[in-house]
Structure formats: C-alpha cells, structure tokens
Symmetry: D2
Subunit: 307 residues, 4 copies
C-alpha cells in the first residue's frame, strides 16, 4: 500500500516508508548515534541528489532527528540535557562565522491553537539582544563577542491576510539578518513520535508543511539567507491515522486487495481534510517542549560567541 499519499513532515518517516524492501536508496546517506547519558537517539539523513530528493519528497539537504522518549515527561534536568544536545546539533548546521552573527528567529504557527503554538511559545523565552547591542554595543554584555538575536511571530494568514512568507521576507530585507532559525509544529505519521522528536534541517520550510500547512517556502532560495528549521511533531493528520489503522487491519487479514481500496478511500475521507489528531494534555506538553527548544537556541547562540 505504498501508493497512499501519507503526510509526514519528518524526513525520518519519509525514509522509513520508502526503504522497506529497498534497503539502500542512492543519494541518501544515513548516520545514527545514540547519546546514552541523555537517552537521545540522533539520526542524520543526508539527501544528496535530485533523484533522491524526488524519491523522498524532501529537498536536498541535511535532516537531523533527535528522538528523546522522555521529552514528554516533566523532568527539568532531562530537558536541560536535551536543550544542550539541540544546541550542539544546531551549531553543526549553522553557517560558520568568525564574527558575531545576526540571527532572526521566527516562531511560525497559531498561538491560539494549542497544538500549533510551538513556534510562538518558543519565541517567548528567547534571549533577545539585537536592540541592546545596536544601542549600547557589546559592552552592554561585558563580552567581546555577542550575537544579535531578534525574533518574529508572524501569525497565521487567516488573521493577517498575508502569507507568512510575505511578512518574513519583508522583515528579512529590512533588518538583514545573517541567518534565520524557523520554529514550527509538524505533522507526524506515527503517534509514538508525537512530542518526542525534534527535527533540525538546513532546508528551511517547504510549502504544505507544518500544522498550519504553510503555502509558501521559507528557504535560502526564497529569502536569500540560510534558513535552519526546527520542528517537533505535535499532531497526526486525521486521514493518515485512518489509513494507518486500516492498513494494519488489512495486513492482518490478507483477504483484501489493498490497492482496490486505495482509490475509494480518498472520497470517503474527504471530511477528514483540515482535521488533525492530538493529545489531551497538549497544553502541558507544548509548554515544556517549547521551553526546551528556546533554551537550545539560547545555548547555541551564546556558545556561538565563544567560537
């Protein structure tokens, strides 16, 4: 049933659904390692060629996935460790710079819809420095190097009447940051990845991705500066979950011709469009993981000063 159009924002899941029966895909390299102390499994998927990009449905670039099973638990010390791990992966993807960087962090999504509020909530806890450095210089922080960090919460099209990409592009052109970090809530295919996985990629945000389904790209190509995207899957597409449940059922029975159903189902599930599935404690979860993300960024940009 590989011809189902299953929606996932995770490169890790895209690869899984392809590689069954095709253990090596040309143009895709995968590295894995396990950080024992933090109980974090890191997978790097590197898509190197156009063909591989087409097969994966994801653009050429590096996709780092951190799987941290206990990320939904309320353990402050553990979250600190994940933040440090995120900071390290983020620094690996950030373009090198001898001098300080000006970094614009963009919190995508809708603050009023809990499952889509990761970006706005993460932006709330950033350590913002650009206006201080511009007014008082680095001396304000008693240090020789100091990144300039700014942040933007562009809001969603239903409330602004503008594409997120229009707003971000305008602000980028006016304030000229060296690099963008974009935070967004993602859709996963598997319930067990919800809120336990962080994806970091240097490919930016693609059209149709995120809980809110962004319509335009936020990429180096469209914006003129490198774009690092940090995402956490907080929802599962309703249609996806129904498909998955049905596949399981069918596989067990082997009585039905799976392909026969594929076409029909699209009609049946039309009403599932624009629906998503999420957990009942999503408010507590988002509060916690958004803080983990903002701390990761804060650490990376502080550390960036010393490098």
């Amino acid at each position: 049933m590989g011809n189902f159009q299953v929606r996932t924002d995770l490169a890790l899941e895209a690869r899984e659904s392809i590689s069954e029966g095709d253990s090596e895909l040309r143009g895709v390299r995968v590295e894995e390692y396990y950080k024992e102390q933090e109980d974090v499994r890191v997978t790097k998927v590197m898509i190197d060629t156009k063909n591989a990009a087409k097969a994966m449905g994801k653009p050429i670039g590096v996709y780092v996935t951190m799987e941290a099973p206990a990320m939904v638990e309320p353990d402050d010390d553990y979250h600190r460790e994940i933040s440090e791990c995120l900071a390290q992966e983020l620094l690996n993807l950030l373009p090198e710079a001898k001098e300080e960087k000006s970094v614009l962090v963009v919190g995508l999504g809708n603050r009023e819809v809990t499952a889509d509020s990761l970006g706005p909530q993460a932006v709330d806890n950033l350590y913002i420095t650009r206006h201080i450095v511009r007014e008082y210089g680095k001396a304000a922080y008693n240090c020789e190097k100091m990144n300039m960090v700014s942040a933007l919460e562009p809001g969603v099209m239903a409330k602004t009447g503008m594409e997120t990409a229009e707003i971000v592009k305008g602000v980028v052109e006016e304030t000229s940051p060296d690099v963008l970090i974009v935070i967004d809530a993602l859709a996963a295919r598997s319930i067990r990845r919800l809120n336990r996985t962080i994806q970091i990629t240097n490919t930016g945000i693609q059209p149709g991705s995120g809980v809110g389904n962004h319509r335009n790209a936020l990429t180096q190509e469209s914006l003129g500066v490198p774009v690092i995207a940090i995402g956490i899957p907080t929802v599962v597409d309703a249609a996806t979950i129904v498909n998955d449940a049905m596949e399981k059922l069918l596989e067990e029975e082997k009585e039905l011709d799976a392909v026969k159903y594929a076409g029909r189902q699209t009609v049946n599930f039309a009403e599932l469009n624009n629906m998503y599935m999420t957990g009942k404690d999503i408010d507590a979860v988002i509060k916690r993981v958004s803080y983990t993300v903002s701390e990761g960024i804060n650490l990376a940009l502080e550390k960036g000063m010393d490098g």
Copy 2:
C-alpha cells in the same frame, strides 16, 4: 456492529445508533421541529424510564439538540438568532420561579487547550450581576426583578489537583444558588455535527463526558440543586473516527465478518486513547460559538426577570 463502544456525548447520536432497525424504543419520546427563519432544527429526546436510560446509556431526563448548520460561519446576525433560540430552550428547561433566581454558571474545561476552552470562554462574556445586587439591591439596575448571576471557571484536575466536582460542590454550598448552568465542550461521533450542534439537558454532567472526561457527576443528585448542561461537540474521539471509517469500508465490501474485527481492534487502537480529532480553525470557531452560548444565557436570564 452495534457492539462497538462508540463514544458520544450527544443523546441524538446515542439514539441514532440504537434505533437503526428498532425504530421505536420504549420509554424514549422524540419531538422534532424546524425553525425556518433561523435554519435551526430542534430535536427533543425525552428519556422517561430506567430501561430506556440503560439502553441509551444516558440518564432519565430531557435532551434538546439544536442543529444549526451555519453556526460555524462568521455571520453576526445569524449568531444572534441562534442565541435567541438557545435562550428560549434554556428557559423551557429552567425550573419556574416567581421570584428572581440566583444562577451559578460554571465554565468547564481547559482554557489552554483550544478545543476544550468552550466553557471558560463562554463564561468570559456573561453579564455578572450577583455582587451588584447583593451590594446595591435591584435598584442598581432600575428594575423590579433581577436575577443574580455568578460564574466559576474551576479549571482542570491536572492543574488544580482537585476534582471539578469538589470545587463546584464547595462553591455551591457556600453561595447557595437556586440553579446551576454548566457549559462544556463535548465529543461527537460524527464530524458533520462538530461545532454545529448545541445540546441542552436537565440531567447535568455525567462522569466520563466532555472533552476532558470529567470523573465525577455534576447533577442535581450530587449537588442538591437543578443542573442544566449546555454542550457543543468540538472534538471527535480518535478511536471513534477510526471505527467509523472502518465500518464504512466494511459495509461497502460485505466481504468481511464485521464482528470478527470488533474484538481485535481494541488492542490495535490502544495508542489512540487520550487522543482527539479537531479542525484547524478551531480557535475562530470556539471564539464565535462561545459568544453565541454566553449571549443565549444572558438573554435567558434577562428575560427571566420579566416572567
């Protein structure tokens, strides 16, 4: 496939799933009428006997369902008409009183989870009068009769450590209202009822109902005063929707023994527990329908003065 445990908080849906093939259920009376001007279909399900209550899985009492297809649309005039319709149905269920009433309105649910925030948001727009009447008398409003309206947002157990029922019971005993109106977000079985249906019942809130699955009852029996519950379905249980999709599939094929699957599925879908499905524009929808509910209550309690 009637032996599926399908979760619905709507008496209307409970009746539908039973009455197929059993067009009249003893002890259950149904009245329907259509308000053409408002495009609102009203169904009253009256459960009169213990047997009927058992068959329906709902306690003895009156369940009024208003189906207003355009309730999700942003048309202020239309919402005013639904509010007036709600006010009328509410007055029909409220206990008669020659004198003014003291009414405590309780907004159940979690303000931080959008789909569960109907109760708290509705309470925000109520016209609160109890403290004024108690301090300055009815004279403060230049009228001879004046209900005393108070409101409470008890919060959810994960944040308070207390059952909602404990908090409400304590406040009821301390402030002695004549009647309770309880507002809650519900789970429906059918996606097409989401946010388009208002249920009003004189049976209060049962354990296990609502988006947050209240564990204790809020009823006349438990609280000592009449309890009117107003609910709007804002979510569909994840397990329910998967079951429904599968039923459709199976019905079309007639190749499979439906009963065979019933038992197995419970195991497969365990991970769907505590998940729910909702729409992407749920913030705008809740903002609008919560206002419709609070206006309905405001109108009913003002009108109550004249009666």
Copy 3:
C-alpha cells in the same frame, strides 16, 4: 507653569495647555460639533503651518478627537453608535479612491501589558479579506467592490529586538498596501479623558508617542504611504499626574513661586520615569473599547466599497 514638559499624545490637550491666555494660535484652526444622539463631542484641530506645529509640539495635519463620556460603560448599543461615528471620521481622513483599496491595519503595543494592549486586541476582531480576495477574487464576497484588508501585530522591541518601524516598513514594502491604519494606546494628561476619547489623525505615529514610547516614526514620509493613526488614551504618565496635582495645590495657595519648583522637580521625580498610572478595571475597559475601534474600522472599510 507653562514650561513644564507635560507629556500628552492628544492634540486636544496640547492645544488646551497652549491656548490659555492666547485664545487664538495662528496656523491652528479648530472645528467643534456635538452629535446629540450619540452624545459624542467631535473636535477637529487642523495644524496648518510649521510655526503652529512647533508651538503645538505636533506635526502639520488633521487631528480629530471624539469625546464619548459613556465609552467606558458596558452598553452594546451605545458602542455601536460610537463605532459608526468613528467609521465616518475615518472615511473623511482616508485618501479617496475610485477603486478598492488595500489597507494594512497595524496594532501597536504589548499584548501582555493590559493598558498597552489596545492595538493587538483591536486587530483580533478585524474582518480580514486580503488573502481571500487574492485567491478567489471579489466573487468570493458576492460584491463588485471589495477592499483588501490585512493586519499586523508587530510586537514590542523588548521581545523582538527590532524597532516596530523596521518590521512595519519591511511588510509595507513587501505587500504594498495603499494606506496604513495604525492603532495605539496613548498617554493623556487628564485622568478624565482616559478611555473616553478617540483621536484620529492623518499624521501617523511620532517618535516618543504611545504607552510604549515608539522610538521611530510611522508616517507617510517614512513609509511612503498615507498613515492614519487611531489612538485611545489608556494611561496617564506618572510624572504628569504628580505635576498636575502639584500645580493645583500651588494655584490655590498662590504662595509659592511656581517657576522655582520647576527645575527641582525633575530630579525628585526621576524614579517616576517608565511608570504610568491606569485604572483597576483596565482589562474590561480595553476589551470593550478595542472592540469599538475594530468595529469602526470594519464599518469604514465595508462602506468604502460602496463609495
């Protein structure tokens, strides 16, 4: 004591403090009328010359002040009337257009500080159409003319690290609106004007104005498009109120040489910098008046379609 630096964002108050003892100021014209039905007093201050602008401490332009004493009261019908009055004054100031206009509404201020949240809250209730018109054309609204309305909440510098003017300028350049409407909470000199007064001006926002003291201008000169500013005074500067109280005291006594105190006081009141005074019910007031403002804009831009 005219040499006190008293802070007010209201042209009406600036004129009052000048015109005492100098009943006519050259280059300043004033028109007044009273709308009896709405109980709204409208004052138009037109500053026509550079000299007058210097004397008033306000740029050349038109300043319309609506004084509506009952605006703090919770009377829905009355607020509707004020919204209609605001819509009319707004249309008078908007540049004429044969064709539809593209209007960007900017809600200035800090959503997290109640007295400064007028702009963000007003933007929440706007009728946003730009994205619909761009995607589906005017046909989507069944009408021949349709303004394109978009909205932006830029946030405050402490949270973004960017000047409000940088963000607005970038978005204006990217989305090319025909006109800007900017909403902001203002500082008044007099407590009795708080939350009862709406100022509409075609001069935009000046540096140092608003509760948040914007550092850069948002004007036609700086942005390249006409900028209409709508403001409501929600705070009184702490230093101003102390000065005013003291002036009253001194005037009554006539024993003290006022000028003698002027210099000293600046030192004494240094700790009042960045302090403001506001009312205890500011949350209810802002909720109500922000709705009045958004309804006024909604009416003006709908009406604009018919003209």
Copy 4:
C-alpha cells in the same frame, strides 16, 4: 504629616512610617539579617500585642520581608537562590507536621490585569500532586513521604459575582487542606520596593489589601486552617505617590503648613481612586518573579517531605 492615610500592604513600610521619632514601639519586635551570598536582606517584624497591632494597622503575627534588589533582573541563577531563601522562610512559618500535609495554594488577583496577575501566574508553575497521591498513593512518586499540593485560581469579583472569600471557603470546606498558602500582588508605598520585595506572613489576607482590594479576610479565623500569605508589591497607589511627592516638596521648602493641605487634598485627588501606578516592563517582571515564587513553594513542599 503622619496623619495622611497612606496605603501600604507591607508591614515593613507600616513600621517605618510609624517609628520615625518613636524608635521603639512596644509590642513590636524586629529582627534583621543579611544573606550575603544571595544579596537578600531579611527583616522579621513580629507584632505581639493588640496595641501594637492597632498602631501598625496590621494584625498580630509574623511578617517576614525579603528585600532582593536584583529580583527584577533576568538572572536565572540568582532567582534560584531567592527561591531557596523563600522556601526556607516559608518552612519556618508553616505549621510543623510529622505526617505529610495537604496544602492548598490560592493564586489571588486578575490574570487579565498584568500588575495583578502574580497569583494566577505563580499557580501555573506549581507542582500539583494531590490528585496523583489520592489515586495512586505515594508509591507514584517512589517516596515515603509526599505532600498533597492542590491549587485554585478563584478569579475576581467583577467576573465571578462572588467574593474571593466565598469561593475559597467553599473549596476549603470541601477538600479539607491542612494549610493554605495564598499568593497576591501588593501595593507598596515606595517605588523602590516594587518587584524587589517578598513579604511572607502567617496572618493571611486582610480586607482591603492587595492590588484588587479584597473585601473579605482570608485568615485562620475565617477559614479554620492556618493561612500563610506570600506577596510582592507590584503597584503603588496613585494617591500615595502624589502625597509622597508633595511631602518631599513641602519638606524642602518648610514654607507651608503641611497640616493645612492634608484635608484639602482628599477632595482634589478623589479622581485618583481606583488608579494605580506601575512600570512599563511589568509583564517581564511578573513573569520572572511569579516563577521565583512558585519555585520557592515547590522547594518548600518537597523539602517538607524530608522533615
């Protein structure tokens, strides 16, 4: 000018205004110590007699004031130290208990008015355990002793129609906690104490105290269980600040008979009633200090387990 009715919720300030010229007040004992590492000055005012209580305008009991000048600064490590200091002082005031305690924490104030939102925001970050212990026993936390912590945000009378004391009393009677901890934003006399001072007292909350001016008492006498109150001054009364400014002025000049003004001023400043003064960055400050308070309570109630 001691006959001015100056409003302060701080026992420290009440004592200062009295003790000028009367260095020792009978029935009032004062202990001071300075915690050098934390840069926190602790003052304990113990009011022992009815006469002293009358002179101070505060009931018999212990008032601990922690002055932490850097509490407004965004230094996480420093806030941790203040939280630990608060936890220690809190444990000193909590009634001893061999067994675990059931503690109800009440967050007073209005979440929608920034300067009054200390209580509600502090309650958001508490570690709530009562529902877990009741359902799963102490085993859920792998420990032998475990306090049961619950929390309540009663809201303000304008929105509930009920006195805070009615709601709290009802919940106390229903859930029978061993002790109450009540958190509230206070009014100070001096601007330099704003947001830098924590007061902890075993006298509970008195009528007329707090930013919202609570009308009824929350005390052991009214509720039947010990009540510890934690407060931070976030506002200065508008009338108070005008008086203070004027006193300064008059003292410098010595030309005026201060008493002469005292009577008159009440009339002049009537419009200042229900006004308060606060800082422009109050949102960031409350976010930080509310977290310091909730961490202090979390530490105290965890530590309580070990004792």
